[in-house]
Structure formats: structure tokens, C-alpha cells
């Protein structure tokens, strides 16, 4: 069923009784060409591009809960391509270009809003670092503008510009960055994959990976054994657990990140603004709620909820950056389990097992990567070779000393 203004009009006249479910609910077959573990954004996008770009449709996505129950439905929806390093920036640039055509491609309203992302700077040193980053972005063909204090003030006048400790000196702006409706993206890819013949199997937890002579033969699940020729893991925060089923240890720690939504306000902030003095970012949803978050809780967790101490520090950062929101009430808070890698960059690669492929290490920036991650992981699963945009995102880069460490923090997962 094609969605259009006309279909909304027609269904409106007929009492909305003609809508069909957006995807089937099939029972698992005994065997698939490709099985993908994890029905988050990345797993669903991978299935979609396997079918669309490579014509491989005998594919199942196995999801232990419901589609989008993981981080894809928990993030703060920021989409941007403002990375510094060569191994990262072309990949995220490709992702942003896919985002720009995504809704037409999927015939689904993902509410992609290129409202601009501003990273504030508060010192000369930070300004220089952002100028360098902006230049790297432009070299990769992305847009970047270094705004001075008055240019920032014209866009977001309510910041605490004269803060004694962290005065706002300006910001690095990427105008093509913005936000997208996170569930919409998952649903759009799910619908697109399903309509091309992919089986989306929910409430199906993978509990074991069956192996024979260095190859995977299939997966044990809560809905029985399912065989496959190739297996792709896209389990985000649970990557370590799933990889362990194949006897692997990963350069990953699972940590919790929280997010918050306030009561609805009138239009207040048009862009996404990130604080340069503490890890804090703020935008406003179309419903009016302020959407914001800060840093990790800094400890290993699989609990999908965080701690009060972090709530407090995020609220302090909020009030430091935008004093006028100090009386706004917070409506909801939640947490997601992040797959924090040892250099802060993702992994899309083969594994020591012949037909097992790995997609993980997204830290807290994997939502923006969803289209490119699916694109490149599908390429890897279909051809056995890394896509040129993901050729630096290798699993063995840690052993070889080719880390892609944007922040320069070294192998301490929670500092990235």
C-alpha cells in the first residue's frame, strides 16, 4: 500500500478502515540465505539494502522484543556528519546524503528535519579545534560554518553568553544536520524490507550460535533452530553477549546513556545545540517537548535505566547553557544500553568465523549512521568484502594500532 496525501484523504472519508498492517508477522522458515540478529535501525536497514541493492531477499531479521525496542527507539534523534577523522567522516557524509532522500525512498514520513546542528565553543583552544574539524568536514564535501558569538546570538539568543566560567564565543554549525523521527526510521526500513520479501521475526531471541568447522550453520532461538548461510550480528548494546555465543570477546563495553523530554513548550529552539563546556545537547520536538541528554552514567550496565546522580548533572548542564529553562518540568526519562567501543568508532567487519559478520560499537552516535551502516553491512554480507566507506571500521584495527579515536582518549570505553 503506497502512502500519499491522497491515501490519507481517502481513508479519512472511509473511517480509516482500509489501512493494512505495515508488515507481515511470518513464522520463521527452517533456513535463510542471511539471518540478521537485532531488529533495530541497523538490522532493519541492512535487510532493506540487502534486498534493494543486492537482490538478496531470502533474509530474516530476528528481534528478541518488538521492532525498534532497543536504542533506535531511545535516542535523541540527532543526525549529523561532523566528524574529524578520515576513517569516519566519509562514512557519515554518505549517511547524511542517504538521510536526505530517505523519506521518498521509503515512502514513509521519517520527519527528517535539517534544522542545523550548532556545537558551541567557549575558549580559543576550542575554537581552533572546531575550525580544524570544520575544515576536515569541508574536505570530505560536507557543509560546515564557524559562527562567531554574534552569529550564534542571532540564532539562539537565550544562551548564557556571558557565563563567567564558560562564556559562549561562537559555534560550529552544520546546517544540513538536524533530527529525524527515530521510530519512523525503524518502521520505514521495516516496511520497505518486508515488502521486498524479508521476514521480520519479533519475540525471537537468539540464544546460541551453532558452529561446525569454523562456520556458522544457524542460530538457536526461543522459537527453535533456524539455519542460515550467512549470519550478521547487529545487536548494539547486546553485541558482547551475542558475540560470546560464537566464542568471541569484543573491544566493547555496554554502558547506559539517559535521555529526557520536558513538558511541551511553544517553539523555542529551532536548531540542535550542543554545549561545549559539558556533554549536553538540546533540541525541541515537533510536539514542543525539549529533548536533551548528556554523558553516560559511566558504568557497565544492561539495565536500560540510569542513576539520579547523572540526572542531576544533566539538569545542571541544561541550566548552565540555557538558564531560562530552569523552571521547565521534565516529563520523561529513560536509558539505553550503548555498545561503547575502545576507540569510540564503530565496527563493520568479518570475524574469525567464515560466514559470521559483525556490526557494532556505535557508542551513542549510531542513529545518524543507520542508513550508511545498513548500506555497508549489506554490502559486506552480500559480497564478503568491506564497502570502501567502511574499510577503516575493521575489528582488527585495535590489534594493528589503527584506532579511529576522535577524542584521543585511548582504550577507555566510557570516555569516548
Amino acid at each position: 500500500m503506497k502512502y500519499s496525501a491522497f491515501s490519507i484523504f481517502r481513508e479519512g472519508l472511509s473511517g480509516n478502515r482500509g489501512w493494512k498492517p505495515a508488515w507481515r508477522e511470518p513464522d520463521p522458515k527452517a533456513h535463510y540465505d542471511v539471518i540478521i540478529v537485532g531488529g533495530g535501525g541497523h538490522g532493519l536497514a541492512t535487510a532493506y539494502y540487502l534486498a534493494k541493492n543486492h537482490g538478496i531477499t531470502n533474509v530474516a531479521v530476528l528481534e528478541k522484543g518488538y521492532l525498534g525496542s532497543g536504542n533506535v527507539g531511545r535516542n535523541t534523534t540527532i543526525v549529523r556528519a561532523n566528524y574529524l577523522l578520515e576513517g569516519n567522516e566519509p562514512f557519515y557524509a554518505h549517511s547524511l546524503r542517504l538521510w536526505e532522500g530517505l523519506e521518498q525512498e521509503l515512502n514513509f514520513n521519517a520527519m527528517m528535519s535539517q534544522r542545523g546542528v550548532i556545537n558551541l565553543y567557549h575558549s580559543d583552544g576550542q575554537r581552533d579545534a572546531f575550525a580544524r574539524r570544520g575544515n576536515a568536514m569541508r574536505l570530505a564535501g560536507e557543509d560546515a560554518e564557524l559562527l562567531d558569538r554574534e552569529q550564534v546570538r542571532a540564532l539562539v539568543p537565550f544562551l548564557d553568553f556571558d557565563n563567567a566560567r564558560f562564556p559562549v564565543q561562537g559555534g560550529l554549525m552544520q546546517r544540513r544536520g538536524g533530527t529525524a523521527r527515530h521510530d519512523g526510521v525503524a518502521w520505514g526500513y521495516a516496511r520497505g524490507a518486508d515488502s521486498r520479501g524479508v521476514d521480520l521475526i519479533q519475540n525471537c531471541e537468539v540464544t546460541g550460535i551453532r558452529r561446525e568447522g569454523g562456520r556458522v550453520t544457524g542460530v538457536e532461538t526461543t522459537r527453535g533452530f533456524i539455519g542460515c548461510n550467512r549470519l550478521g550480528l547487529a545487536a548494539a548494546g547486546n553485541s558482547g553477549q551475542v558475540a560470546e555465543m560464537a566464542g568471541m570477546r569484543l573491544p566493547i563495553e555496554s554502558q547506559v546513556l539517559q535521555a529526557f523530554v520536558s513538558e511541551g513548550l511553544k517553539p523555542f529552539i529551532d536548531q540542535v545545540v550542543t554545549f561545549g563546556a559539558a556533554l549536553f545537547y538540546l533540541s525541541q520536538s515537533d510536539k514542543g517537548g525539549l529533548v536533551f541528554g548528556g554523558s553516560l552514567d559511566m558504568y557497565n550496565s544492561y539495565a536500560q535505566r540510569g542513576n539520579l546522580a547523572t540526572v542531576e548533572s544533566v539538569m545542571e548542564a541544561a541550566c548552565a547553557m540555557v538558564p531560562s529553562i530552569s523552571r521547565v518540568k521534565v516529563l520523561r526519562a529513560w536509558g539505553g544500553v550503548m555498545d561503547m567501543s575502545m576507540d569510540g568508532s564503530p565496527i563493520i567487519d568479518r570475524t574469525p568465523l567464515d560466514n559470521l559478520y559483525l556490526n557494532c560499537g556505535w557508542c551513542y552516535g549510531g542513529f545518524k549512521a543507520t542508513p550508511a551502516s545498513g548500506w555497508c553491512f549489506a554490502h559486506l554480507l552480500a559480497t564478503g568484502e568491506s564497502h570502501e566507506l567502511a574499510c577503516a571500521l575493521r575489528l582488527d584495527r585495535f590489534t594493528r594500532g589503527y584506532q579511529i579515536d576522535e577524542t584521543g582518549h585511548g582504550a577507555q570505553a566510557n570516555l569516548h
Partner: protein
């Protein structure tokens, strides 16, 4: 997670006084250990889902390094031991990582109130 942590030296203290270093299981290899051992120590993690030992430092108190036994799924804190006691209880200094300490040396709430 509990908001009060029983430090074996300072008693029950607010969680915010502690800073969390992470998994206490990886043990630093000898300088001449093979490359693989160093690679694994620096990069690879068990990423435990369940009970795990972690290095915490009581930065806002005695500044001792502690080993906290904590559940990564429920966030329950089970025991807090001084890191030196923990290592001693494990026997040899290279003794195998995440194995639990002998129960006699664990410092739960009881001893912390001392």
C-alpha cells in the same frame, strides 16, 4: 544503583563520592608477556551481564582503590572490598581476574559500619 555505598574504610557514603574505573577482571600482563596478552588486556572485555567486579576509587573520601561487586543488570551492589585485600585474597598477583574473592575478606555492610 544504591545511593549509599559501604566503603570499608569510611562507612556508608553517597555514591557520588566514588569514581568508577571499570572492569577489575583484566590483570596487567608482565612487561615481557606476549603481544596477544597485552592486546587482550588493553582492548578486549568480557562485558559481563550479571555480577561483575569493578575498580572504584573513593575520590571524595579515603582515596583508596576499591573492588565493588555489582550486578550490571539489576544495579545491585553486593560487596565492597579494599583492592589490596581483594588481590591478596586472590592469591598470586596475576591470579585469574574475575573469580570471586574468598568470602572472609569481603566487606559488606556489616564491617563497613565499624
Amino acid at each position: 544503583m544504591a545511593s549509599l555505598i559501604p566503603c570499608p574504610h569510611c562507612g556508608l557514603r553517597p555514591k557520588e563520592e566514588f569514581s568508577i574505573r571499570g572492569d577489575a577482571a583484566p590483570v596487567r600482563p608482565r612487561p615481557d608477556a606476549p603481544f596477544d596478552a597485552w592486546d587482550a588486556y588493553v582492548h578486549l572485555r568480557d562485558n559481563v551481564r550479571g555480577v561483575m567486579h569493578e575498580h572504584w576509587q573513593h575520590v571524595g573520601g579515603c582515596r583508596r582503590w576499591l573492588v565493588v561487586e555489582r550486578d550490571t543488570f539489576t544495579h545491585a551492589v553486593h560487596a565492597v572490598t579494599d583492592a589490596a585485600d581483594f588481590t591478596r585474597a586472590q592469591g598470586a598477583p596475576t591470579g585469574g581476574g574475575g573469580a570471586s574473592a574468598a568470602s572472609g575478606t569481603r566487606t559488606g555492610k556489616g564491617r563497613a559500619k565499624r
